[in-house]
């Protein structure tokens, strides 16, 4: 009996270890989203389709509450005619604007089992989507324009929930700090080319009477790369010129 246990115990341990290892590695069915992606364009001869290009077509009127609408109108009144936008001041788009395309620039996804990092070229804007043990307690999270994002896999669909957002009226989808954004990413293939579909739903009872949704599609850029997006350099150069002018005046 003892001898038989001596045979079975190592075998059982090996099976248990294999099971643990399997649980710790991503499922073989988990899609790999790593790569550089650009706004989807339908193959030649095919219709672009709704949501395909991620462009700024006519937007249906948003179901904003009166007090939220007043805030948005106040903002729009401020900037109308000035040409001013957050991007003009080197400020990132923030969610959900960043995931909807961020000005038509490409994005890069770097996927690890415990974290997905999304880099939007415009303004070097970065989102980090945390999984499992990487998720920190709610009390330790700070509000940001891109919020705090937690990911999970539902089969082959990546689901990302984002909260802890700052109130932003300078968005295509303005929202309060109570907003919750759920993105669902699915991978497909078209003419041998990877296509990533991102479906976004924003729920924000403080700003909206109903959830709002939009879909953005991306095409893979084989061997693509992002460029650095320095934006504050002109402001720094101007500041140095001011300091030089001040310095030359004081030495006269």
């Amino acid at each position: 009996m003892l001898r038989r246990s001596g045979i079975f115990l190592p075998a059982f341990a090996a099976i248990a270890l294999a099971a643990v290892a399997l649980a710790q590695t991503p499922s073989t069915r988990t899609p790999d989203l790593t790569g550089v992606w650009t706004t989807y364009r339908a193959p030649a001869g095919q219709a672009q389709g709704r949501g395909g290009g991620g462009g700024r077509g006519a937007q249906a009127e948003l179901p904003l509450r009166p007090e939220a609408r007043a805030k948005v109108q106040e903002y729009q009144k401020l900037v109308t005619g000035t040409g001013d936008t957050p991007g003009g001041y080197c400020l990132g788009t923030g969610m959900p604007g960043s995931m909807m395309g961020s000005g038509g620039y490409p994005m890069e996804i770097i996927q690890r089992p415990d974290q997905i990092t999304i880099i939007y070229e415009a303004h070097n804007e970065i989102r980090r989507v945390y999984f499992g043990n990487r998720v920190i307690p709610e009390k330790d999270r700070l509000s940001e324009r891109n919020g705090y994002s937690i990911g999970r896999w539902e089969g082959e669909t990546l689901v990302v929930e984002t909260t802890k957002l700052k109130e932003q009226v300078d968005q295509r989808y303005p929202h309060s700090d109570q907003a919750r954004i759920v993105e669902r990413y699915t991978l497909s293939e078209e003419d041998g080319r990877k296509v990533l579909t991102a479906q976004m739903t924003l729920t924000d009872p403080a700003f909206y009477t109903a959830p709002v949704s939009e879909t953005k599609r991306w095409s893979i850029v084989p061997n693509g790369f992002l460029m650095t997006y320095e934006c504050n350099e002109p402001a720094w150069t101007k500041r140095l010129e001011e300091l030089r002018a001040k310095s030359s005046q004081s030495t006269k």
Binding site: R56, G81, D84, G103, G104, Y105, M227
Partner: protein
């Protein structure tokens, strides 16, 4: 050559309709129109979020410096621009979405250098 330039500029205007709104409201310019001008480069700054080109321009109204805003450094690069392509003193042909109020300037959507290098925004490369 001229036909190709016009086609390029029109393509640019169409593609910029979306992109120009990324960092800056393009409401001041009329992207349904295109103006072609030739002048001499006074200064060229390729930067984000928008570049700036100033040319010395002469027409019946006189000779003056005209400033154009253009796309981000990153998109101008993707459109084909490389360092050294534009220098002060160079002749240049520009394709511009003019200011709605009729004033000098506008949004530079394409250009052709004295060496014949044309830079525009090819949407398929974004």
């Amino acid at each position: 050559m001229r036909t190709a330039s016009i086609a390029l500029a029109i393509a640019l205007i169409i593609s910029l309709g979306t992109l120009a709104t990324a960092h800056h409201s393009a409401a001041a310019q009329d992207f349904s129109k295109r103006v072609e001008m030739q002048g001499v480069v006074k200064s060229w700054e390729i930067m984000n979020p928008h570049g700036k080109l100033v040319i010395q321009y002469t027409d019946p109204k006189g000779t003056r410096a005209i400033e154009f805003e253009t796309h981000s450094r990153n998109n101008v690069y993707r459109a084909g621009y490389r360092d050294g392509m534009i220098k002060a003193g160079d002749k240049i042909k520009v394709f511009v979405a003019p200011n709605r109020d009729g004033s000098d300037g506008g949004y530079l959507v394409a250009f052709e250098t004295a060496a014949g290098e044309r830079v525009g925004l090819d949407a398929s490369q974004r």
